[in-house]
């Protein structure tokens, strides 16, 4: 319709400017109109809910009826800052997220390297399927599978005992959580790393070889820096997914394994203290903001 109107001669005199003409005269209008629906959705649904979250964090509840009292106060944040229990929960969550990220990066790099640069086309497809296959199974099913492996009478202890080693009682500990998290988020690290490694031009490696670099030197000085944005992009997934998780700590963790998410969950669900949960939820938001800034510096967003 707009094309037809555009070809019609413009009315003379003070008639209304046709819509298409308007679009032509104001070049910024077209992208604005195209972007308006997703942008509106983003602002209303996404940013507005975040804003509500932040505002709620400054309210409190009446401890008796648990109804929200809309009076500004920083009590919730003071509680997080002053109580050592929250410090240890926040640092546990962050350290776990970092440990999982490093583990996944170390595991994923050689795998992705093999996939991208060594494996044949056929093997590549097979490896891709193998990486993605676990994602077809439910998260819960995979966590429960790990419980069966790690618990007292589980596969791990059974295997250790049958080769004459003492049992490793790591079921329901933070080590168990680390293993399970590293397993669950590994595909999210492999795929961006693979994508980054695949994009490194072969010519650069050849140039490195011409200049006398051996294979490992080329990998270290050429491949690794060029693939780093991909690894950092993957780390955004592994770090943020671990940071926000609360199911694995419930199922696999032992005593002293609460994450930020678990405390939020118990404040929303059990205590009905939504303002405190909101202020606690601001903590991972802040951590991720810092993390994303760092990631951007390292060029992670160019990897996509």
């Amino acid at each position: 319709m707009s094309v037809a109107t555009a070809r019609r001669p413009r009315p003379k005199g003070g008639g209304a400017v046709p819509f298409a003409g308007l679009l032509w005269r104001l070049p910024w209008l077209r992208p604005l109109l195209l972007l308006a629906p997703p942008l509106a959705w983003f602002v209303v649904i996404y940013l507005a809910s975040l804003a509500t979250l932040l505002i709620t964090a400054f309210w409190t509840i009446n401890p008796f009826t648990t109804q929200i009292v809309q009076v500004w106060s920083t009590d919730n944040f003071q509680r997080i800052i002053n109580e050592p229990a929250y410090h240890s929960i926040i640092s546990r969550t962050v350290i776990m997220a970092a440990a999982v990220t490093v583990t996944d990066a170390v595991l994923a790099f050689p795998f992705a390297y093999y996939m991208a640069r060594v494996a044949s086309r056929r093997a590549q497809t097979l490896l891709f399927a193998a990486v993605l296959l676990p994602l077809w199974a439910s998260y819960l099913a995979r966590v429960y599978a790990w419980i069966l492996i790690l618990n007292h009478n589980g596969v791990l202890n059974w295997s250790l005992q049958s080769i004459g080693l003492p049992p490793a009682n790591i079921g329901y500990t933070n080590i168990a959580m680390w293993v399970v998290f590293s397993y669950i988020w590994l595909p999210f690290m492999i795929i961006p790393t693979y994508a980054a490694l695949e994009r490194v031009p072969e010519t650069l490696l050849e140039a490195a070889a011409d200049l006398g670099a051996r294979r490992w030197r080329a990998v270290r000085d050429v491949m690794l820096p060029l693939a780093l944005p991909g690894v950092v992009a993957g780390s955004i997934f592994t770090f943020s997914l671990t940071l926000g998780d609360y199911i694995t700590p419930i199922l696999v963790g032992g005593a002293g394994s609460s994450f930020i998410g678990n405390v939020i969950y118990s404040n929303v669900g059990i205590a009905n203290n939504i303002p405190f949960a909101a202020s606690l939820a601001a903590v991972p938001v802040a951590i991720m903001a810092v993390y994303l800034l760092l990631a951007q510096r390292l060029g992670a967003f160019e990897a996509f």
Binding site: I61, N62, P63, F64, T65, T66, Q67, R79, E83, A85, Y86, S88, I89, I147, N151, H152, N153, G154, N169, G171, Y172, I250, L251, G253, G254, A255, G256, S258, V263, S266, N267, G269, I270, A271, N272, N273
Partner: protein, 389 residues
Amino acid sequence: MRFSALAAVAMLVVAGCGSSNPNTGNTLAPPPTASLKPLDKVGPGEGQLNLIAWEGYVDDSWAKPFTQQTGCVVSSKYAGSSDEMVSLMKDGGGGQYDMVSASGDADLRLIYSGDVRPMNEKLIPDWTNFQTFFKNPPYNTISGIHYGISLQWGPNTLLYSTKKFPNKPTSWQVIYDPANKGLITVPDNPIQIADAALYLMKTQPSLGIKDPYELTKKQFDASVALLTTQRPLIKKYWALASDEISLFQNGDVVVGAAWPYQTIQLKAAGAAVDETIPAEGATGWGDTWMLATKAPHPNCAYLWTQYVSTAKIQAEQALFFGETPVNTQACAQMEALQAGSCAQYHADAAGTYFDTIKFWKTPIATCADGSQTCIPYDQWVSAWTTIKG
């Protein structure tokens, strides 16, 4: 009943006059719905009934016959936790839900937020057959006003491996004993603080704990301290009954706090376990059908409550879940369905048995003496976070 309602109104007036700010006064204001008059008689059903219930509490095997008898079509929403029930019932059920099968730890929250309204126990013929305790339990009856009709109950028992403990443990001390380090499991629930308080009630009488849900600062701190020393001994705080079952099955733990349900399941699976109520007594839970303040189908709600209070349905539901009916007449029905079950579930327990069980109720700031010095539930939750670490 009527007199109590009057008394409640009088209390409201006194509270309103006696103190400029009722929230800080030392008299607890009665629940917002205390003065709402319950139905005098049950009229014809409205043809529909919307329930919020624990999973399986509205099983077809007894809900279908109810619909045939009364014409009330039952639709139910299963809630996963007491807290989900409380949030679903916000704003008096929102004009959508009629009833909720709430547990004692949610009841006072529902009552004092005005989400449920008084019920007339005289319209429930079987109410006179209830165990005396469950006619007016403190978690659903306030100043003689019934905010619901009791349904079923169960104790929180001590579950133990008979291999590790050939002799029945006689005290909750085993779950605080460093000798069992790494072999203990307790529920991941702030109400667990009451279990510690119950233990201290007997072992440290100097603290003067009378009610494990009404703790002063000193008593509360002592209970929290006990649980903090227990933490390094804990293998896992279980969140789901199935978690605890697999912990026992896999040999990860040998002793823990549990419900009779877990014991029944584990024994059925051939695990070497047993349960006991130690000398200090136990905490327990009691479920209540409560009527939403804005219930759109009150007649069907009363018809349903009458129906589930009958001995036959009480017995069916009890055996379905491994819980205990409040109707004393249900015993014979249970025996007919499964010999020995009446005694197994303590359905025939004498009145004194209930002195050993402290039923869950929401901890609130108001102590029994009316002072505001007790620790309310939100502090239980944050203390529980600190204990678990």
